[in-house]
């Protein structure tokens, strides 16, 4: 039997009680991430992509909670683990990187102090040994003069440097998977390019799998092996990143790609999606039919029925009654 995937989700469901009934932010999300692979999880605001990340980490803010499905970390189901057991896992076998690294860095402690504490949270080693591991981790993510950076306070580093520190900290215990939630969105393009190149290299060299949560398809195209496109809590299309971007099959993926200006002649009219909210079911919960049919240009009456998961070969599949044809 081959080794289990680094991270696997099976039918994950997360709900938030709201005024008009329960909101199912994550509605049956499944995917597999093998060692050393990068999976891009793409969606617009409200698609549930970040909640998926928080659900994996067991960090969903109450009153929201994971109500179903499994999160398998190297084959072990961690979805129902109590908080103390989760705390032992977090940072050691699965780690998270946020859009704003200042969320996780303490402003009054030196980088070295914080990273050494992160080492010693899971491993009983001396402070010196912890510091030297922190220094090595900084070197691995491409930070120049890492020994000096250990002495710095977070505010003395640039945004890009702080994000590298956050990634280095996540890598300290060589976790099976790192969940990165919009980690380069706040950075300048030249710095984003540097970090994407480093992450690609780190995934290949360390074998850590990355779940890269982003709204930016171009980033996924440059970085990820595979992609899952989320809409209204569901993965509507999945497959190898290059293939999905070259030949999208779900109309939503097609619309996302079509609305990126650089794919068009300058000044040309951009195709735009109709506005609209995903349909709600009778009990206020999610609608069993296709969640995109209220905005879809290809919608037919049968789209109100649950959509089939059509396999297009080579790992690509889409939840759709009327998928896009292959371009001739």
């Amino acid at each position: 039997m081959s080794a289990p995937p680094a991270l696997e989700l099976r039918g994950l469901r997360t709900e938030f009680p709201g005024r008009g009934g329960v909101v199912r932010a994550v509605d049956g999300v499944s995917f597999r991430m093998e060692r050393g692979r990068i999976l891009g999880l793409v969606g617009e605001s409200g698609s549930g992509k970040s909640v998926t990340g928080f659900s994996i980490m067991g960090l969903v803010e109450p009153p929201g909670r994971v109500v179903g499905g499994q999160v398998l970390l190297e084959g072990q189901d961690i979805s129902g683990l109590p908080q103390p057991a989760m705390r032992l896992l977090r940072g050691a076998r699965v780690a998270m990187v946020f859009q704003d690294p200042l969320m996780t860095l303490n402003p009054v402690l030196r980088i070295g102090t914080q990273m050494a504490a992160a080492v010693r949270a899971h491993d009983r080693v001396s402070r010196q040994a912890a510091l030297s591991r922190a220094r090595d981790a900084l070197a691995i993510v491409g930070i120049p003069s890492p020994a000096e950076r250990l002495q710095a306070y977070p505010h003395q580093l640039s945004g890009g440097m702080r994000q590298r520190v956050a990634i280095a900290t996540a890598l300290l215990h060589r976790p099976a998977a790192i969940i990165a939630d919009e980690p380069t969105t706040a950075l300048d393009v030249s710095i984003q390019g540097q970090i994407l190149a480093e992450v690609r290299r780190l995934a290949d060299e360390t074998g850590t799998a990355f779940l890269w949560i982003t709204h930016d398809l171009a980033v996924v195209s440059s970085l990820a092996d595979d992609v899952c496109v989320m809409y209204a809590g569901r993965v509507v299309e999945r497959g190898p990143a290059a293939r999905v971007i070259a030949t999208p099959r779900h109309p939503y993926t097609g619309a996302l790609i079509g609305s990126v200006p650089s794919g068009h002649e300058p000044g040309a009219r951009l195709p735009q999606l109709a506005a609209g909210a995903p349909p709600r079911g009778a009990d206020g919960g999610p609608d069993p039919g296709c969640s995109f049919h209220t905005r879809c240009p290809r919608a037919q009456p049968d789209c109100a029925l649950p959509p089939p998961d059509i396999d297009f070969g080579a790992g690509q599949s889409a939840l759709c009654h009327h998928p896009l044809e292959t371009p001739a």
Binding site: L217, S222, V260, L270
Partner: protein
């Protein structure tokens, strides 16, 4: 053609208020830099009906320059002329024909004012409409940006991000501007909403013949909307060229590096070459050419002498010694 907007030798310095640490250092006889040079001697002309894209990374001064053009800041040196007259004088903005649209529509609308009142406020204050006609005027403006006029009695928090940005656009249009300063107007919007707002801009441009200064960090968006593009780095314009020339034959190493670091759809995994190094602090920029510490072509001359903008191709200018007499001699 005479330019609609002329930016002439504009510089802007911000004095940083002394912190406790600065004062202590001052007592010990050590003083650090106290002023940020946000914009350094910028010259620009924008012709009527033209859209000039202004691109750069954080700290490059593009937003500051935009705010100077929009009459929010007064330049420390130089002048901003709109139709030959200064936009600001004596600390006050003198025209309402230059309007600005901010990046974050969640912050740029007064949360306690109905959107209809927000749109009507400027025209009423300047006597462009009578109070009796304000309601119809607001309805017309909202319809023009694709919003249901019935929404005018609502408050900003009842709108989505894309709708709020439409309200902000309606507020600017209500004053009948000829020049719009757009500061990252689609950066905080989802891609599908971004497409709608970009389409709205091109419609308005066609219908109203608007002139624009479009500030963005997103080279793809700037390529889509601009006729000409200026690239800024640490307060200086390093390249200025017609859009197609800039994207096909960039002349400045920084422009080339920027174009190379942008992730693109369908370019494939790991196929981009990022620029090395960090963006230096504007508090303490490198001497000579500000880009030299990150530039693969830098020579001794670049460390001491700041290059001037010189013509490269028709309409294209770049501030780089490579296009002058080389980088070696100092």
């Amino acid at each position: 053609m005479t330019p609609l907007l002329s930016v002439e030798g504009v510089s802007k310095r911000f004095a940083r208020p002394a912190t406790l640490g600065d004062r202590l250092a001052g007592l010990l006889g050590r003083t650090g830099p106290r002023a940020v040079q946000a914009v350094t001697r910028v010259d620009l002309q924008v012709a009527p009906g033209e859209v000039l894209g202004l691109v750069g990374e954080s700290g490059c001064g593009k937003s500051t320059l935009g705010r100077i053009v929009a009459g929010i800041y007064e330049p420390s040196e130089g002048a901003v002329l709109f139709q030959g007259a200064p936009v600001m004088s004596g600390g006050r903005k003198r025209t309402f024909r230059v309007q600005m649209i901010h990046q974050d529509p969640f912050a740029s609308l007064d949360p306690r004012m109905r959107v209809g009142d927000t749109v009507a406020e400027g025209p009423l204050a300047h006597g462009l409409v009578k109070r009796a006609g304000a309601d119809a005027f607001v309805a017309d403006m909202l319809a023009r940006v694709g919003l249901d006029p019935a929404l005018r009695r609502r408050y900003p928090h009842q709108f989505s991000g894309g709708q709020r940005q439409r309200v902000a656009i309606a507020r600017a249009l209500a004053l009948g501007p000829e020049l719009l300063v757009l500061d990252e107007p689609v950066a905080s919007l989802d891609v599908s909403i971004q497409a709608q707002v970009l389409n709205l801009f091109s419609d308005l441009r066609r219908e109203l013949g608007l002139t624009g200064l479009f500030i963005s960090h997103d080279l793809g968006v700037v390529r889509h909307v601009s006729d000409r593009v200026a690239i800024m780095y640490l307060g200086r314009i390093v390249e200025l060229a017609p859009m197609r020339t800039l994207y096909s034959t960039p002349a400045h190493p920084y422009t080339r590096a920027l174009l190379d670091s942008v992730p693109k759809l369908g370019r494939g995994r790991g196929a981009f070459r990022p620029i090395a190094g960090e963006i230096p602090s504007p508090l303490n920029p490198p001497p000579g050419c500000h880009f030299h510490p990150r530039c693969p072509h830098a020579g001794p001359r670049c460390r001491v002498e700041a290059p001037k903008l010189i013509p490269v191709l028709p309409g294209q200018t770049a501030a780089c010694h490579l296009h002058d007499t080389g980088v070696s001699d100092a």
